[in-house]
């Protein structure tokens, strides 16, 4: 029985990372109606910023952390201006191609700068973990879960209880109408990109000590997060979180009980099963496309 709790704990921990990245996915999708294929690079760039500040420059962890998140805010803004904004009046296809291009550009630029060697980032806390009964709780996983809970709570409050949150929702639902009411649509989309880059970056920094920092980490995380959004129901915020957590738990149990080498395969097996049997995801489309 203890092994089940142990796996559940680890599954929720890694699932939280997928949930955070999936959340960023969904926010950009809802604001622009386009899937951002460079979403995983948000996590990778943030992890590399951490490597630059805390490993290469040997600055204190917390200062590096704040600088990396600030860097991600700037990155999100530049990403919006360079990748989305010039194409905002076009159909979704040029924008999708543009995000794929950005993904290739960013990961290969990183490869040119750092080479293929994975970088190592130490845990945030010196204290590695403790036992409750026979279940070992790793502090890095606890930290990931804690941060995810706080962020999800913050986001719920922000979207449901602030006027800015309502304006962001209005923008994602009907841009033309939003502009008719005087809501600055371009600014709202900018806010979305900055926020999405920051939570994607946060996920990357948190998972870096577990996964190694490499140019491939973005692709892996993005694929899992993408699967999570489909499992949860595309475009649904709660679905992204539940989907992310479910995926983390499923692959952890799959790795433990079935096969370790096929760990990543379980995510896609579940994804395919959902696409075949319940393409609308767990939560489906709760809001009709047009009222």
């Amino acid at each position: 029985m203890d092994i089940v709790f142990q796996l559940l704990f680890q599954g929720i921990g890694i699932g939280s990372v997928y949930a955070l990245v999936a959340l960023g996915f969904v926010l950009i999708f809802r604001a622009t109606n386009v899937v951002n294929f460079a979403q995983g690079e948000f996590s990778m760039v943030a992890a590399f910023l951490m490597v630059i500040f805390s490993v290469d420059l040997e600055w204190p962890y917390w200062i590096s952390f704040i600088l990396s998140l600030g860097g991600m805010a700037i990155y999100g803004a530049l990403f919006n201006l360079g990748v989305y904004f010039p194409l905002r009046h076009r159909t979704y296809l040029p924008v999708i191609i543009s995000t794929i291009g950005a993904s290739i550009l960013v990961s290969n630029s990183t490869l040119a700068l750092y080479g293929p060697q994975p970088q190592v980032l130490s845990n945030l806390l010196d204290f590695p973990g403790f036992n409750i009964g026979t279940v070992y709780l790793d502090t890095q996983y606890l930290l990931i879960i804690g941060v995810t809970v706080v962020l999800v709570a913050f986001q719920y409050w922000f979207f449901e209880h602030t006027l800015l949150g309502k304006k962001l929702q209005a923008t994602s639902q009907d841009k033309e109408m939003a502009s008719l009411l005087g809501i600055p649509v371009a600014t709202m989309i900018m806010v979305t990109f900055v926020y999405s880059a920051m939570i994607g970056g946060l996920a990357g920094i948190l998972v870096a000590p577990i996964l190694f920092v490499s140019i491939h980490m973005g692709g892996t995380i993005a694929l899992k997060a993408f699967a999570a959004t489909i499992i949860g129901g595309f475009g649904d915020v709660a679905g992204a979180i539940i989907g992310g957590l479910a995926l983390g738990v499923i692959e952890t149990f799959g790795a433990a009980y079935v096969s370790v080498p096929y760990k990543d395969g379980f995510a896609f097996l579940v994804l395919v099963a959902f696409l075949v049997f319940r393409p609308q995801g767990i939560f489906g489309e709760r809001v009709a496309e047009k009222a």
């Binding site: 006027l163 502009s179 809501i183 009222a291």
Partner: protein, 246 residues
């Protein structure tokens, strides 16, 4: 000086000329109705005013200021609120939230005050008060229309543009919507109304314009338009002998 004046405005959608040199004006305090059949250019006229569509030529002047080159976000801040065709209520927000967002064009207003003003809107639109915390997409067409008009009024507009408020609504709801337009008029807001329902449209108006395939053809007082045989036959879809005059 009229509140708003269109001077020779033309609008093109690609090859199609949707408006061909339309000139019209609305005085402060007036309710003016634009009539015409499908594709006559009524909605295009409103879209040109609110900045959703850029005129190919001509000029629109609001309170002495040219609107040329301004986008919808800037135009609504000048005091022109557009309640578009199809109501366009945000489906995933509640009726109350939809109405609150109508004040997005006004700066320096606190959330508490907007909340209070939105509550006050339900005095005028008492039919939707029970549904204020219901998501937009679950509302009926009539309820959505009331939310859309209330949202437009939250902008505290000097000029309210209403596009086909009766479209797709049951007759009893249509009369309710027009009662509200009369009340808006009593409160002194200038209204430019687009209607296919000529009788209802003219019943609340001081003046009317009739558009046909992008051109203004007739203008006048409601009873002049109503009694104009050509207008009735050609543009209002009625026939003098069968339609009773109100």
């Amino acid at each position: 000086m009229p509140l708003i004046e269109l001077k020779n405005v033309s609008v093109r959608y690609g090859e199609i000329e949707a408006l061909r040199g339309v000139s019209l004006s609305v005085e402060a305090g007036e309710v003016v109705t634009l009539l015409g059949g499908n594709g006559a250019g009524k909605s295009t006229t409103l879209r040109a005013i609110s900045g959703l569509t850029k005129p190919a030529s001509g000029e629109i002047i609001f309170e002495g200021q040219s609107l040329t080159g301004l986008g919808p976000e800037e135009i609504v801040r000048l005091g022109i609120a557009h309640v578009p065709e199809g109501r366009r209520v945000f489906p995933g927000l509640t009726a109350h939230e939809n109405i609150m967002l109508g004040a997005s064009n006004r700066s320096g207003v606190s959330k508490a005050q907007i909340d209070q003003e939105a509550d006050a809107m339900f005095d005028l639109f008492s039919d939707i008060r029970p549904f204020q915390h219901v998501l937009g997409w679950t509302l009926s067409g009539g309820q959505q229309q009331m939310v859309a008009v209330a949202r437009g009024l939250m902008a505290k507009p000097k000029l309210l543009l209403l596009d086909e408020p009766s479209l797709g609504l049951a007759p009893v709801i249509v009369s309710k919507v027009f009662e509200i337009i009369k009340e808006i008029r009593r409160r002194g807001t200038t209204v430019l109304l687009v209607e296919q329902n000529a009788r209802m449209g003219l019943s609340v108006a001081d003046r009317g314009y009739v558009l046909e395939t992008g051109r203004l053809v007739v203008t006048g007082k409601p009873d002049e338009l109503w009694n104009n045989e050509d207008v009735r036959a050609a543009y209002l879809g009625g026939h003098a002998r069968t339609a009773a005059k109100t």
